[in-house]
Amino acid sequence: MRSRPSPSRSTEPCHRWVALALLAAAGTAGAQTLSNTSPLSFGAFTAGSGGTIVLSTAGARSKSGGVLLVSQGGAAAAAQFSVTGTASAVYTITLPVDGTVLLSDGSNSMALNGFASSPAGTGILSGGGTAVLSIGATLTVGNAQAPGSYTGSFNVTVNYQ
């Protein structure tokens, strides 16, 4: 009469496979990240007859039209993102398309278009697997744009190749 194999004998190898699987999953998942480290700030201005304000990826402002740039009320700064991943990995950058980002003070709005990044288009992580991504944009100001604090948000995506 054959005895039935004990459960511990049949499941022991299975346990090993499961452990290997979990180790494999834990060892490599989630290695590539993108995180925002600094917001995009246009500082302050008076609207006048309206125009545009271009904030470069270096954080420098320039204006067109009747806008007057103001130093008081907050400094202008480009948005900063931290990119991490595999050393020397190449990634492409996807920015918001025009017409999709609005800043609002609750009742009035301004359009944010012309997003630009540095590096532009494609970036390469350092040997340590890190990079800094800077984002600028162009703000469209209406004639006699209502005074107030305007806020909004946007998303950036990086695709690793």
Binding site: A21, Q32, S35, N36, S49
Partner: protein, 140 residues
Amino acid sequence: MRGTLAAGALLVLALAAGRPVDAASAGASVTVRVTQSVVVQALLGAPLSINDILDALRAPAGPSTGSVLIRLAQIAPALTQGVAAPGFAADAVPGMQAAMAGALTLPLSGTLQRELVAAVSLIGQEAGNDAQPSITVAFN
């Protein structure tokens, strides 16, 4: 045997899922402040802080405060001395026509110290001081 096969399949799935992430997204906030233009009855030729101007403008009118011109004069006596400033930039100020006699402005950038402000008045002689002139404040 069946359990071993299942565990093997699990390992394959785990390895596939554990590949480096192909894409990552993150959001950022955007802020900007639109400041108000200031309308005053004064010819401002000396720098003062924008907060001083706004405080004067917003202060309730009354016997102790008087007109905006007087309030500003109390804040910055130098304003009443008609200190002329070089570097007129009338056409650079939105809505401003040619500067009239006595109307002053300062360069819009590069020459004013931080936290200072200059302004341009459009008081018309025919309108007199009782009229509400438009005035554009230029900051740096």
